[in-house]
Symmetry: C2
Subunit: 128 residues, 2 copies
Amino acid sequence: MSKPQKTYLISELAKEFGVTTRTIRLYEEQNLLSPQREGNKRIYSEGDRVRLRLTLRAKRLGMTLAEAKELIDLYYDGRNKKHQLEKLLEKLREREDKLLEQRADIDLTLLEIERIKKQAEEALKEQS
Amino acid sequence: MSKPQKTYLISELAKEFGVTTRTIRLYEEQNLLSPQREGNKRIYSEGDRVRLRLTLRAKRLGMTLAEAKELIDLYYDGRNKKHQLEKLLEKLREREDKLLEQRADIDLTLLEIERIKKQAEEALKEQS
DNA sequence: TATTACGCTTACGTAAACGTCAATTAATTG
DNA sequence: CAATTAATTGACGTTTACGTAAGCGTAATA
């Protein structure tokens, strides 16, 4: 009784995530996805869909596809030998640090935006 | 009694921010900076230095140079006519929304990383 | 004064991330 | 069965953000 496992066509994923099929195929070329084939048609699993979502999230954070792959592969690396695990932890910490720095940059920028917003609102009032 | 206003050479800024002079000249070409000239030598003011810092921060957030310019110009846009002010506020809100979404992405990613970290740490323990 | 150190401009090169055809195939539908 | 419709594989084009010389001027330094 294996689960029927929902699958997706490339056009469905493209529509759902608002990217072109070209983009999805490119991600496959870069080994971020590896859908099954039915004939020569690509059939995407739920897992592929998750990886696509992760890839796009990484992109929104400004990561390159290579960086996205590195990060996402960590999720799927699984439990290996001791050395591997330590390397995994190290990479996770590195990425974590980068993300924290990035969040700090965001917070700084948000503060500046708030400042300018208030100035602009004041100026608007005085002009009424 | 005007203040002496510290200035910088291109190589000094390059060193301080860890970029090449090529990069700084490119930013000028894209109108993100506009240093004075002494002969044909570029002389950067404190204001130029701030704009460079803002530019690099924007880049770290994955913005293109064009987006960085848009944002930074907002800071310097100053108080204009009513319509201008309203447009300014709108753009600020847009950028703010994007940053908040980006921060949400970061938080999601951090959560996942924490999860994987714990798994890996468990696996390490059980292997000792 | 010859050399080194910077700086300048001009311009070609490049990697990343797609966009945009073109030509072909396979499945669906009137 | 002819005509769409969606998918595939090339392959070339494009934008962004620099890298990398080449060739030249200027200023300090050995």
